[in-house]
């Protein structure tokens, strides 16, 4: 269909927009969050405090944010992409100098009612800015080296700042999400092939250099790698989490031990049972059936997002939606790989289920953009 043949339909206005909201997606989000409430109620030993109740309140706030963002036309958000990105970079710089840190790595700004982690905000801003960039860039120029370099810088600046915090996990997530955005936009295969082979070469070099004069990493870095590859070698620190997590998960069996019957998570063998490791409680209490169902819910979210993206002819909207979906995917893919012992322990929450404010609100903000793209798509 050429541009001239294109017929202009009006987009919904005012309250009519509510009817055009992608309700199945909204309901899916609420369903996943409800799984979270249930599990938080369970790990607290059958109590709404201290985790389930604040989580419900936060999800209500998140839902309101999504709704509000969805009502605003998507092109307004595209125009705000640069501002959002710039602001996020400034906040990252600000925490670098004035931020509060706990546990050595996480840095946030205390807003009073919540702690804002600029690195979380960056996850959405980066996707948004890259989508706006490729919306602006003519398709022909996408693979031109100069125009490939620009997004690389856009990605590396925040990734570098987050890496300096130091938060290697989030920095890698940002780079991965950014690279996927470039891939969506149509950057030539060869670039990705080159980067992949370089990364593979680097990993090979890292391992080969161990114990020689030109050793690339410090010894304790290697120790951490060892722990990841063989958790049993360090049964007390990081390896402890993984071992306990796998035991809790695996002992769930087909149907689990029953709601609030998980012995492992209850006996404090598992640290951070209400945040990053909450999936193990679900898998222990509801077994494979429960875990697989949650996985299915997540898959459905992705399916809806991809279909929203592909049915949209506005480039920014499509890219933005795919980017949010990818970020969402990276969250739960990394978290679930981690609790199943397939990835190193990095602090990534299970989206919408783990106890915590920043990640949930940021994700709901992202889905607000997806909804806005859906409502305001050219018809």
């Amino acid at each position: 269909m050429s541009y001239l043949e294109y017929t202009v339909k009006t987009t919904p206005t005012g309250l009519r927009k509510v009817l055009y909201l992608n309700w199945p997606l909204a309901i899916l989000l609420a369903a996943i969050a409800s799984v979270g409430f249930l599990m938080l109620y369970s790990v607290a030993g059958g109590s709404f405090s201290p985790w389930a109740e604040p989580q419900i309140k936060r999800f209500a706030l998140g839902f309101a944010i999504m709704f509000t963002v969805a009502m605003v036309p998507i092109w307004f958000w595209r125009n705000m992409a640069g501002v959002a990105y710039g602001l996020s970079v400034l906040l990252l710089l600000a925490v670098e100098f004035f931020g509060t840190s706990a546990g050595g790595a996480q840095r946030w700004i205390d807003l009073g009612f919540m702690r804002l982690q600029p690195s979380e905000l960056m996850k959405i801003s980066l996707v948004m800015f890259l989508a706006a960039y490729y919306d602006w860039l003519p398709v022909k120029k996408t693979s031109h080296p100069l125009w490939v370099l620009v997004p690389v810088v856009i990605i590396l600046v925040p990734a570098g700042l987050v890496f300096a915090q130091p938060d290697l996990g989030t920095a890698l997530l940002l780079m991965l999400a950014g690279a996927t955005m470039m891939f969506f936009a149509g950057v030539h295969w060869a670039y990705f092939a080159a980067v992949f082979s370089m990364a593979a070469g680097l990993i090979f070099a890292v391992f080969q250099s161990r114990g020689t004069d030109w050793q690339i990493l410090r010894n304790y870095h290697y120790d951490r790698l060892d722990t990841f590859l063989d958790p049993a070698s360090d049964p007390l620190d990081k390896g402890y989490h993984i071992t306990q997590s796998k035991i809790a998960l695996g002992s769930g069996g087909w149907t689990g031990k029953g709601f609030m019957q998980g012995t492992q998570s209850r006996l404090n063998f598992l640290p951070e049972k209400h945040t990053d490791f909450i999936f193990t409680t679900l898998a222990e209490e509801f077994g494979f059936v429960g875990g697989f169902s949650l996985l299915l819910l997540y898959t459905l979210i992705l399916v809806f997002c991809v279909s929203i993206a592909l049915s949209n002819r506005d480039r920014f909207s499509s890219l933005m939606t795919l980017g949010i979906a990818t970020t969402f995917f990276l969250f739960f893919a990394v978290n679930m790989s981690m609790v199943m012992g397939m990835a190193p322990v990095v602090g990534v929450p299970l989206p919408l289920v783990s106890y915590g404010g920043s990640a949930m609100l940021i994700l709901m903000l992202g889905f607000g953009f997806v909804q806005s793209a859906h409502i305001h798509k050219p018809r």
């Binding site: 269909m1 050429s2 541009y3 294109y6 202009v8 009006t10 987009t11 092109w75 919306d135 003519p138 398709v139 022909k140 996927t180 891939f183 969506f184 936009a185 149509g186 049964p235 007390l236 620190d237 402890y240 796998k246 035991i247 809790a248 998960l249 695996g250 002992s251 769930g252 069996g253 087909w254 012995t263 492992q264 006996l267 404090n268 063998f269 640290p271 077994g287 494979f288 875990g291 697989f292 996985l295 997540y298 898959t299 992705l302 991809v306 993206a309 592909l310 002819r313 506005d314 480039r315 499509s318 890219l319 795919l322 990818t326 995917f329 893919a333 679930m336 790989s337 199943m340 050219p378």
Partner: protein, 639 residues
Amino acid sequence: MRRPGRDSAQSQRLITRRGLIVGGAQALFMGGLALRMRYMQVEQADEFRLLADENRISIRLLPPTRGRIFDRNGVTVAENVPSYRITMVPEEAGDVDNVIARLAQLVELTPEELERAKRDLSEARGDTAVTVADRVSWDDISRVAVNTPALPGVAPEVGLSRRYPRIGDYAHIVGYVGPYSERDRTRIDAPEQLLRIPRFQVGKFGIEAAYENALRGKAGTKRVEVNVRGHVMRELERQEGQPGTDVQLTIDSDLQSYISARLAGESAAATVMDCDTGDLLACVSSPTFDPNLFVRGISVPNYRELLENKYRPLPNKAVQGVYPPGSTFKMVTVLAALEAGTIDPEETIYCPGHLEVAGRRFHCWKRAGHGNVDMHRSLRESCDVYYYELALRTGIENISAMAERLGLGIKHDLPLTSVAAGLAPTKDWKRRVRDAEWVIGDSVNAAIGQGDVLASPLQLAVMAARLATGRSVAPRVIRSIDGVESPTGHGDDMGLNENNLRHIRQAMYAVSNSRRGTAYSSRIIEDAFRMAGKTGTSQVRSAVVDNNSVPWEQRDHALFVNFAPFDAPKIAVSVVVEHGGGGSRAAAPIARDITLQALYGEDPPLSAYPSKDRRRIQSQQEELRRARTRPNDGRSDRA
């Protein structure tokens, strides 16, 4: 309303294709996750279920045994003794206050301990064990053990605790350990898991702090079966850690405790050094304190008492105290002059009792003057005017350079807390630090060890050893680590003219053995143990007043340095008595007693002392024998 861009169709085709590729890859990954989940939860379920049951098996840390510290002869200086403590896991206890109250009925807890336990419990993470009562008696422990069913979360534990059997003898050198605190984070690099042990003890001061990494060792682990309450049911497997490394000191305990007793009642410091190896045979700062108090956690009143004591028991005066060396510095000045060729040993300088320099009158300690003085006599009788003249001829740069060659004004590399560098002033130093020009009066003052010159007792002993041997002997306090001998401080020949050194040594010999010498009354009678020394008196205030008529704080410091035996020097000794008055009266007798004790290795025969002193010495020896520290027996503090 915004219309799709000009190349929209092409772009959307691209996005669709790529979106589907990535979506497909994501779907594959999800499939992978599902398969992995199925594998773990279905195929491996039984295995994991078994492990889950076994999860009553918990891994506990075995704190490593801290390395011990011995003296040069193998006498234990720091050891580990079993100690019993009671821990509590707040989450398992549930109602913490209630459990504490019940515990307090079984175990005797002071209000202070109770307060601290409650504070620790409220601050700790819920699932970590908190020490509620430390060093409790065996009776208390058994009472708690019997009553564990009524005390959820409470566990009696046996651990090792540091003990310093020689009480105060080694407090300043060996230091002490204490519970790890946030403040140690920058100083000590300890593995995270060890720090989870409640009140894990790390070195806080002295050798305990300096050799923390070696002494600490590595933690072991044990697998124990626990019930749901967290109580240990039985032990299954044990992986021993690596005990810390033993450290052997160069200090001789007998000598150390003799000196401790000899210095009692004074604010003083003494150092005995082996001339050959540089080994510190004794290094005493008086008064001292009991490091065991710190291990237990010193009480506020006790600590305040230590801080406010005017004799300052806490700092190690032997290495971190600096004093104007007074006349003990004269060897430096004269050696600098001899080496620079500005004086001949035979040449005499006339001492009328004072010298005019730049319109100021500098007095000799002897107002009447010494008359014609040569090098030998100047040292023996400690004539000041002779050295004023040498300062004018030789210059401060030469003198300071010689001071540093002899070990003054430089920081000796010892693993002790706060080793002082002292000061050998130069013109450049004064410009930099005081922002003032060097004046000739400064040189004159420095030549007799007054003014800006500062030295620690340790440095003075090093100086004596270097004068005695002509080698750059360096102090050493660690003899061996884990049985491996540390390099000695034997040192190289300093390249000083042997004739000049011989002149100085002979003059020092005269100080203690010639009837006109300033330390003649503290001489040693036995020929094989004759010593060569030098007295010093350093002024604390500038006006010359009679020492007995001013308060203690304003009296002069008394100093003495010596080496012995004269013919084949084995040891170098320095003594500083703060506000003791004159060096010959207050410091020399102490140095003589220490020297004899060190050379004999036990109480020397009375015949070594001048006959008129023998009666007094005899009663002193008896008194000191009684006062010397005996290792306390192994009883627990509370039992």
